[in-house]
């Protein structure tokens, strides 16, 4: 078990006039190598939850374990935890401060006290992971980049620490479709090729559902669903719509057909699957019709 949360509660501004309960009784296990989508409305506690994973926040009550180590205890070296759990915040391009892209990405490894040649190796590796050419980009100023490129540099600056787990808070927010697809496919490749555990936070089901093995759905500070996206769409599409989260467009389409009396499986994630399912359904109907005619 990589990360385990037990009965975690978190309250902002405890005992103050503006007290708000952000997390309520969260119980969660994350295994090594999982690819998880964390979905919920703005303000439902997603960002608060992920900040518990690397000790930026400590629970008001409850326990957080990273690799069986209780990180809510005092005296734990949180730097070590943050090296294992890389957290990429929303709009990570807003944290860029160095003169060159090389220095920006080298910031983390430098703080780890690594030797010079190792730092360069890691910068090259990280730039490659986000598909930016070292020779073209290393000496450029990060402030001259486009929005999508800046975000990839910010992502590389976390990857250079070589975390075992990567948490991304809305990595596609404010990007055009091209930049969005690019960064998502890079994240997918990072997960597949390096075996890094990934948690992808989003308020949008589109795309994310297709990529992840496991979906966590949050509402008002609680995890209300936990399972493979297919299963959730097949069994609990109704509840998802009820909390106002919506389904991916194809899944929504299948769901509407089902409501109108078609006997369809709604656990589909992309257009191809939907096509197959609809064709199967038509075939089934045709054969039934033929049987009926023969009688």
């Amino acid at each position: 078990m990589f990360i385990r949360l037990e009965n975690v509660y978190y309250t902002y501004n405890l005992h103050m006039p503006f007290e708000t309960k952000a997390l309520k009784n969260i119980n969660l296990d994350i295994k090594k190598g999982e690819f998880i989508g964390l979905i919920g409305h703005t303000g439902c506690g997603k960002t608060t939850l992920i900040q518990h994973f690397n000790g930026l926040l400590t629970p008001t009550s409850g326990k957080v374990y990273v690799e069986e180590m209780d990180i809510s205890k005092k005296g734990i070296d949180l730097k070590l935890i943050r090296q294992k759990v890389g957290l990429v915040f929303q709009y990570p391009e807003n944290q860029i401060f160095e003169e060159t892209i090389f220095q920006e990405i080298a910031f983390g490894p430098k703080k780890l006290g690594l030797p010079k040649d190792e730092i360069e190796k890691r910068v090259r590796e990280a730039l490659k992971m986000v598909d930016l050419d070292y020779n073209l980009y290393a000496e450029r100023s990060p402030f001259t980049l486009s929005g999508g490129e800046m975000r990839r540099v910010a992502l590389a600056s976390i990857l250079s620490i070589r975390p075992k787990m990567l948490i991304l808070d809305e990595p596609t927010a404010n990007l055009d479709p091209q930049g969005r697809n690019k960064i998502l496919s890079e994240i997918k490749a990072i997960h597949d090729n390096f075996g890094i555990t990934v948690v992808l936070v989003s308020h949008n089901m589109e795309k994310v559902a297709e990529m992840v093995d496991r979906l966590l759905v949050m509402n008002k500070g609680e995890i209300i669903m936990d399972g493979p996206p297919r299963e959730i769409f097949a069994k609990r599409a109704n509840d998802l719509l009820k909390v106002g989260l919506g389904l991916p467009q194809v899944t929504q389409c299948m769901y509407e057909l089902k409501i109108r009396g078609k006997d369809l499986y709604t656990g589909v994630l992309n257009v191809n699957e939907a096509e197959k399912e609809i064709l199967n359904n038509i075939k089934k109907l045709n054969s039934q019709l033929k049987k009926y005619e023969r009688l």
Binding site: N13, M16, P17, Q51, N54, L56, K79, R82, Q83, G86, L87, V88, F89, P92, N94, Q95, I96, F97, F107, G108, K111, L112, F143, S157, I158, I161
Partner: protein, 265 residues
Amino acid sequence: MKILRNISFGQYIPRESLIHNLDPRIKILSCLAIIISLFLLTEFWGYLILGTFVMIGIIISQIHPKFVFKGLRSILFIIMFTLIIHLFMTEGEVLYQLSFLKITKEGLIKGLFISCRLFILILATSLLTLTTSPISLTDGIEKLLSFFKFIGMPAHEIAMMMTIALRFIPTLLEETEKIMKAQISRGADFDTGNIFNRTKNLIPILIPLFVNAFRRADELAIAMEAKCYRGGEGRTHFRQLKIRVIDILTLILTSIITIIASVLF
């Protein structure tokens, strides 16, 4: 990060109370009168009167006194510092001596005197900012300053700058916290090392903060121009300030009390 959340000095707490509903101009003038009389009076009795007056104000405002005093904690250092300076630096009748350091009776009295002054000063201004929303505060200041328009005081511009500055304090605090967390996640460390190192460690926070602030200022300027902003000339207000009987009564009461405190004592 804890520090950023614990600033209650200068924060507005919405409540339905007599003090909240007073005209902001009256509140600013009253506060000013109290401050002036604090500096005029010469006897401890004056402090007692003014202190009680401000405390009654806090009770009427329905804001928990604990919250008001929490904001004072950050000022405590300055108060202690002035007390100690006065304690040791004033010549006079020696009460206690430790080698070259000596505490004098005059120093003790003077130190306590100045501390009381600072204490009530902060209490009174806290009461003003805790009970007045930033918008009505700047509205009040604009109206008060417009008395000086004839000598070329840019009242509206000053008020607008204040509104924008006040508006962006929480935004910048929030952003600082976010950037700090992001850099901590990348291995930055803000809690250890000597002063020189700690200052150097602030660079990863300050540069993004400045970059974002300038970008934000730029966007705001464009947005304001797009909405045809052109200064205060001929601008109307959605919220009209009106002086009511209770406002006049409050002003009279404050005047009497501050005059008694500063003239009689």
